[in-house]
């Protein structure tokens, strides 16, 4: 690794911004490289990724019958 590689601390500090795709491409690529070689940070990143996926799943829910009827009536009117 080059001397200007990111430390684990720097990676963890920017991890959420990295997962949110908020970092510029250069920093993001540096974190990619770090995660390829650092099991500890990779494990943390995977944990946060999996947790986020689970959070995402909470926003899918079968609409109640009443709402389905309401939307159907609206669509029929259009």
């Amino acid at each position: 690794m080059s001397s200007d590689s990111l430390t684990c601390e720097e990676v963890i500090r920017q991890l959420f911004a990295y997962l949110d795709r908020e970092l510029d491409t250069q920093v993001s690529a540096e974190i990619d490289r770090h995660l390829e070689t650092c099991r500890e940070c990779f494990s943390r990143a995977e944990f946060e990724r999996r947790l986020r996926q689970k959070v995402r799943e909470t926003a899918r829910e079968e609409p109640p019958e009443r709402l389905q009827r309401r939307i159907r009536a609206m669509l029929d009117r259009y």
Partner: protein
């Protein structure tokens, strides 16, 4: 003689648009309702937000730039509908406090809480780690409860960023707050969400542990 202008309500174009609109709305219904429910925390409000968003979307369909953008556009309409409702419901004073950064009274533990740090045991091998086990047994119900327990401004940024994938700038624009506030709310929201999950997730784990008086139900007779 020129043919008469087709009646707008029955023209083939309009019918095609209507059918595409209907098809897409029905395809997205479970996500529209699920997102509205996470945003509002209330089934009746979620129904109103979805219905109002669909109505708004239909009346503004001319704003849509191509059907390939419909999904993102409809969710944007949904978010704006929710934000309008949220604002309408709050008195001016409430709004000032609710929309400001609710940064008060957070202990350092709450600000910096990390589930991973709580769960991680570096001496274990990488397979079957406590953090994997925690996620494996994390149930949707606990996640919903943890999300619903967050104060409105925190919950909304989590739903916009983590669930819907908006950028910080987009969230700042939607909520009309500085991007720095989006960052700080998101950071606090994640810490608080993880703390709640730790509290909820830990309960069944403790109950299952025979050392705590619990018992495994696998293969056991009543």
């Amino acid at each position: 003689m020129e043919p008469p202008e087709p009646n707008e309500r029955t023209s083939p174009d309009r019918e095609k648009r209507r059918r595409l609109f209907e098809q897409e709305v029905i395809r997205l219904m479970d996500r529209l309702y699920g997102t509205a429910l996470r945003l509002t925390r209330n089934p009746d409000d979620a129904e109103d937000v979805v219905a109002e968003a669909v109505e708004r979307a239909w009346t503004r369909l001319d704003d849509l730039r191509g059907w390939e953008h419909f999904e993102g556009w409809l969710f944007r309409v949904l978010n704006n509908t929710f934000i309008s409702m949220w604002r309408r419901r709050r008195s001016r004073q409430d709004r000032e406090t609710e929309f400001d950064d609710p940064d008060s009274a957070a202990s350092p533990d709450e600000r910096d809480f990390s589930l991973y740090r709580k769960l991680h045991q570096p001496f274990l091998l990488w397979w079957g780690t406590p953090q994997d086990q925690f996620l494996d047994r994390l149930v949707l119900d606990d996640l919903q409860r943890a999300l619903d327990s967050l104060p409105d401004p925190f919950r909304v940024v989590v739903v916009l960023v983590e669930v819907q994938g908006y950028t910080y700038d987009e969230v700042a624009g939607l909520l009309e707050i500085p991007v720095g506030t989006v960052r700080s709310r998101l950071s606090r929201a994640r810490a608080l969400l993880q703390k709640r999950l730790w509290e909820y997730g830990n309960r069944p784990a403790a109950a299952r542990d025979p050392r705590n008086g619990g018992s495994s139900t696998d293969g056991e007779r009543p």
